[in-house]
């Protein structure tokens, strides 16, 4: 690999020194010369893109003070350019003074060694470059952290959210506490974990979030604990693994309920010993990582079903924090929506109170994730429909069903009200089924007769791509999974009495 070429300003009253330097270091450097301070100032005024200044001290051949006195101004006016003093003066006190004034290094001419000088010049320049890069990286990391914190803000002032934040702040005081975050999908478990990270002593160390269910099960051990090159087929490179990446910081393992027994054992070992062993290594690695896990599953039930180790569960549940569903903290909904609008550079007044009320009344089975997607979709529909504000027509169909006067709840029949069904305790899939069945039930009420199914399918867009049997499939599929729900949906049950008993 070819070396970079650096530009050096040589300040020395001896012309032969300039020449010898050019001859000996003729590749890799471009030298410019100044024989006295005045020439040096002219050169620097004309161009400050020097990578290094080589400064002689006795610029009149006698007095080292001349060069020494130049150093502070050079440091002040050209802080980016390193200075190496190269002089015949061999008094230690002069060297110390030069370094104190800001020179980066001190070379004695009589101890001339061009190879060493080459090395020293490059070191000084490259250290400066590294420092510059380091400063830039720090700035980028800071910006990134700010972006992350804006991207994952823990928004909400409801009593439930305030309580969660208070709990997380208390938990953050113990940087070794293993934390289990539970709650439905989309409630903001990662946001809560990042909030914990931002509050604790590990806040300047890494936060590594891993969704375990998104990783190929065969690769999970390697992804988490790392591996040595050649330790298995396709292990072409050493891999550090998420645990080591998170050293001194927090590792958030999302969907912890989805990992197999082997990984459970390794995780348990880490929690007990703080040791991991990457694949292909013959020794353990000690790490300082706080583990935060999260799941939407009921781990206790998984233990009972034999899918999750009891001992690991006992370890993980040292500190369980339940993140409540969005529907149970409706006061947070306007705040989250406003935050999202601000983030998108939109006016907060874009959503009128009436629509906001509808959004607050909705059940949000997909929680915050669904809310954010819904706002995004509404913004798009507003543009498509050419509206100034987001009116009810911009709402997704499943939410429109809940608008008073259009939804089946308000029709005064004897159907069970959706909000009478206690949603909070139900799994997400079941909640979604309820929402969809409610829409279908309402549609069936509008259509009757032999073509009702086709009309309902068309209205609810189940007939897209020519699949007119999609509605049948949905109904039968829901019935297989949640037969107990159908007593609450009599019109559907009647229309599909062939399948529903």
């Amino acid at each position: 690999m070819s070396k970079a070429i650096y530009k050096i300003l040589v300040v020395d009253d001896e012309p032969e020194f300039h020449k010898d330097l050019r001859l000996a270091l003729r590749q890799g450097y471009v030298f410019e010369g100044a024989l006295n301070p005045s020439e040096m100032h002219k050169k620097l005024a004309a161009s400050d893109n020097y990578d290094l200044i080589l400064l002689d001290l006795a610029l009149d051949g006698k007095d080292s003070a001349i060069g020494l006195n130049l150093i502070p101004d050079l440091v002040k006016n050209f802080p980016e350019i390193p200075i190496i003093v190269v002089t015949i003066e061999d008094k230690i006190s002069v060297a110390v003074e030069a370094l104190k004034k800001g020179a980066n290094d001190y070379l004695h001419k009589k101890e001339l060694d061009f190879d060493l000088w080459d090395e020293k010049f490059r070191d000084a320049i490259e250290t400066r470059v590294l420092k510059k890069e380091n400063t830039e990286l720090k700035r980028q990391v800071k910006t990134y952290k700010e972006q992350i914190s804006q991207e994952y803000p823990f928004i909400g002032e409801s009593p439930q959210t305030q309580e969660i934040k208070r709990t997380l702040r208390i938990v953050s005081e113990d940087p070794n506490m293993t934390v289990l975050l539970t709650g439905e999908t989309g409630v903001g478990k990662e946001v809560a974990a990042r909030y914990l990270h931002s509050q604790c002593v590990r806040k300047n160390s890494p936060f590594v979030g891993v969704n375990l269910s998104a990783i190929d099960k065969n690769m999970l051990e390697s992804e988490l604990f790392g591996h040595k090159k050649g330790s298995f087929t396709n292990a072409e490179y050493d891999r550090e693994g998420y645990f080591r990446q998170a050293d001194t910081g927090i590792l958030m393992l999302d969907e912890i309920g989805d990992i197999n027994t082997d990984i459970q054992i390794k995780l348990l070992r880490f929690l007990e010993t703080r040791l991991i062993r990457p694949i292909g290594w013959d020794k353990d690695v000690q790490l300082d990582v706080q583990i935060v896990t999260a799941t939407h599953r009921n781990l206790q039930k998984e233990v009972q079903a034999g899918n999750f180790r009891e001992d690991l569960y006992q370890r993980l549940k040292a500190m369980v924090i339940e993140i409540p569903a969005l529907r149970s903290r409706k006061d947070d909904i306007p705040l989250i929506i406003r935050h999202y609008l601000r983030q998108q550079g939109q006016e907060e007044g874009l959503i009128p109170n009436a629509v906001m009320k509808i959004l607050m009344d909705y059940v949000w089975p997909g929680n915050i994730r669904e809310l954010v997607n819904t706002v995004r979709s509404m913004m798009m529909r507003r543009k498509i429909l050419g509206r100034n504000i987001i009116d009810p027509e911009c709402l997704p169909k499943e939410i429109q069903e809940f608008i008073p006067g259009t939804s089946f709840q308000s029709q005064g029949d004897n159907s069970p009200q959706l909000f009478d069904i206690k949603m909070d305790d139900r799994p997400v899939d079941e909640q979604k089924a309820i929402v969809e069945l409610t829409r279908i039930e309402a549609a069936f009420k509008k259509h009757s007769g032999s073509g009702a199914k086709k009309q309902v399918a068309s209205e609810l867009e189940y007939d897209k791509e020519g699949k007119s049997d999609n509605l049948n499939y949905r109904i039968t599929s829901f019935y297989k999974q949640f037969p107990h729900l159908f007593s609450a949906f009599p019109v559907i049950s009647s229309a599909y009495k062939k399948y529903i008993h």
Partner: protein
């Protein structure tokens, strides 16, 4: 007992032969390579004539022993009237040599040799290395070395032909004049270095200077000489040797 001696006037030795015979001592001319022997004892008949001057060598020798053999014993002999350990009064030799040696201090201990006249060698060394303003021997050597080192590096590292590199190196500088100054300075001082702990190294430097002199006398016109005579390597050797001596004997306290 073997007793090494340094004397420029051998009449002292013949005059004392009966005394040392009686004490069971055998006097041998100083052999530099024996300095590291465990029981090395050196007797300097001081001051010693080196070239045209008489010099006192004791302090430089004590430093040399501290560096090379800290158990070695340095004695100096002279006509000063002094009752000091390690001092052999030529007018009043010790009656019992064994007692005298038993009381003598090894070089590692802190003591000052008795000064018996002559120019102090430590001062001459300091002047050799650091005197003469900007034309000290080391100043001259630095300029020469910078030339040979840059020339050699341009050829060795970047593959420049000698003619091209030399044209650049010797374009304006009168390195040949620096060489003449160095030789002159060297020939002036070299006789002073005959009886020192590092005399062997100084003799090698003298031979080295003679070895590469033809290149400098040809004023660089003959590139083959630069390679064949190993000018760069020899100049580096001279520098390294002098640098080590200066560091040990001049920069340190003598």
């Amino acid at each position: 007992m073997l007793l090494h001696y340094i004397a420029s006037d051998h009449r002292y030795i013949s005059g004392l032969s009966a005394y040392f015979d009686a004490q069971g001592c055998k006097l041998v001319d100083y052999e530099p390579e024996r300095l590291k022997d465990g029981s090395f004892i050196l007797l300097i008949f001081s001051p010693v004539r080196c070239g045209s001057v008489r010099v006192s060598l004791e302090r430089v020798w004590k430093k040399g022993m501290e560096l090379e053999n800290r158990e070695a014993i340095l004695l100096n002999a002279g006509f000063e009237e002094a009752q000091e350990t390690n001092y052999f009064d030529l007018l009043n030799p010790p009656a019992n040599w064994s007692d005298f040696i038993a009381l003598a201090k090894p070089a590692k201990l802190l003591w000052e040799p008795v000064y018996t006249g002559g120019m102090k060698m430590e001062d001459k060394l300091a002047r050799f290395f650091k005197g003469h303003g900007a034309e000290s021997l080391t100043d001259e050597l630095y300029v020469i070395r910078r030339k040979t080192a840059s020339l050699f590096r341009a050829m060795d590292k970047y593959g420049l032909p000698y003619e091209v590199a030399a044209a650049e190196a010797f374009e304006t500088d009168n390195v040949w004049r620096h060489w003449e100054v160095l030789k002159s300075r060297w020939s002036h001082y070299f006789p002073l270095f005959f009886y020192l702990p590092f005399s062997g190294q100084m003799k090698k430097i003298d031979a080295s200077i003679k070895q590469i002199d033809p290149f400098f006398r040809s004023e660089g016109k003959n590139g083959d000489l630069f390679i064949q005579l190993e000018c760069h390597q020899i100049v580096e050797y001279i520098h390294e040797t002098l640098f080590t001596i200066e560091k040990s004997y001049v920069k340190g306290n003598i």
